[in-house]
Point group: C2
Chain length 253, copies 2
């Protein structure tokens, strides 16, 4: 089997939700190391399985190269803290500047009011989480009423995303965007306080151009205590830059 | 890190498409071993990354347990033949007889004529592939015209699936069903001979009841040389039993 390496990193403070670091952020840390191990810049498809919550502090990332091809490289990465695996992921990386081919787009980006006419999610000590000090979210007015205690009745969450402090969103940061929004279930017609992620897969299609990202997350099937959350992320030029799907759990009451 | 084990298996003859074993079948072989390693019957979510095609013959499966929880167990499995990793997967398994919770279903199963009024895909020496001797597929008349050289113009493939010889479809066999249909791209408006799978993720929601499975595969975004294929699999009682998504490549001309 392929080359192994151990990387050092840290879960920075301020990326947490109720003291646990955001899942997309954890996946981005693991993927950053995996991209280094494979010496390829862009995560074409990455899947993470979540085992334990992450707290701010030092982490190590153990990577293993599985395949080195001409166009793509594949490997896996485990994110560990205090000897425990928080997250394990597998990914195939490449260079998306090469991307070309026929184009079919069934549906364009979601229609939304401009960011200034959407509902900002602002960091407070309670809800929204401190995580919102790192990213900027503006929710579609139809989907953001849950902030005021009014669920829309549709398991849908649309809005704008960008990193704060003018930090550009690269293809690794898209993994973070894919898990940055409030759960779609907050707009569904059943009571749920949180929907922990079992697994998150992100397909990155292109490098995003600078500017706000237009995002849409929707759930179509809630069955047997599980739900999927399907995401689309579009850049400021109207190109699909990523698709995501996560399987999440409805905690038993 | 967790317990490791090595399993012996075989890629049976007759599961091939142009001499290469079907990707869902390979994932099912790896997942069968992983379920054994975790001692859990049902793959809740499994992701495979494909590295080399598989030929009929002996294989070994190397498994590693990553997390053993109360309700779920997670691990990974590599499928090897002649010292080469064909496929690497990560999965979280559980027991789906426990499944319960609130239900939301946006859209029910796809409307289709009865299996006898759909187009059978029949095994010949050329196309369709020998694989069709193991499974039975009946395509929706609107989507099956490509067999006669007429693409529908919609990247959609609907139809019925069952294993031949009255073999019941368990939750591992659903992984096979998730990759058993002709590519959606065969109905799209661009010329493509094949769309090799980079990665396939399957979420299993429930154990299927006996009978034909109602399946729908659709592609919404073809961009930059990539396409996704989203699948839904419904059992004979009208329950969603699995969702799938694969990232596939449009080979360069």
């Amino acid at each position: 089997m392929g080359k192994r390496a151990v990387w050092s990193g840290a879960i920075a403070p301020g990326w947490d939700i109720v003291a646990n670091a955001n899942g997309g952020y954890l996946l981005a840390i693991a993927a950053r190391a995996l991209g280094g191990a494979l010496d390829r810049p862009d995560p074409v498809t990455v899947t993470g399985h979540y085992f334990y919550p992450g707290k701010a502090g030092d982490v190590t990332i153990e990577t293993q190269v599985l395949k080195e091809g001409r166009r793509f490289g594949s490997g896996r990465a485990d994110l560990l803290a205090q000897g425990r695996t928080l997250l394990s992921c597998i990914g195939t990386f490449g260079d998306l500047t090469e991307a070309s081919g026929p184009e079919i787009v069934d549906q364009g980006p979601p229609e939304m009011p401009d960011p200034d006419d959407c509902l900002p999610v602002v960091a407070t000590d309670t809800f929204p989480p401190p995580f919102m000090g790192k990213i900027e979210l503006r929710l579609h007015p139809e989907d953001g009423q849950f902030l005021l205690g009014k669920r829309s009745g549709h398991a849908l969450m649309r809005g704008w995303f960008r990193l704060r402090h003018d930090e550009p969103t690269d293809t690794i940061a898209l993994l973070c965007a894919a898990d940055a929004f409030p759960p779609t279930a907050f707009n569904a017609d059943f009571p749920v306080a949180w929907t922990p992620t079992i697994e998150l897969t992100v397909h990155v299609r292109a490098r995003p151009e600078p500017g706000w990202l237009r995002c849409k997350f929707a759930t179509h099937f809630v069955t047997g205590g599980f739900l999927e959350e399907d995401g689309e992320i579009w850049d400021s030029t109207g190109h699909l830059v990523a698709q995501s799907r996560q399987l999440a759990l409805i905690p038993r009451g």
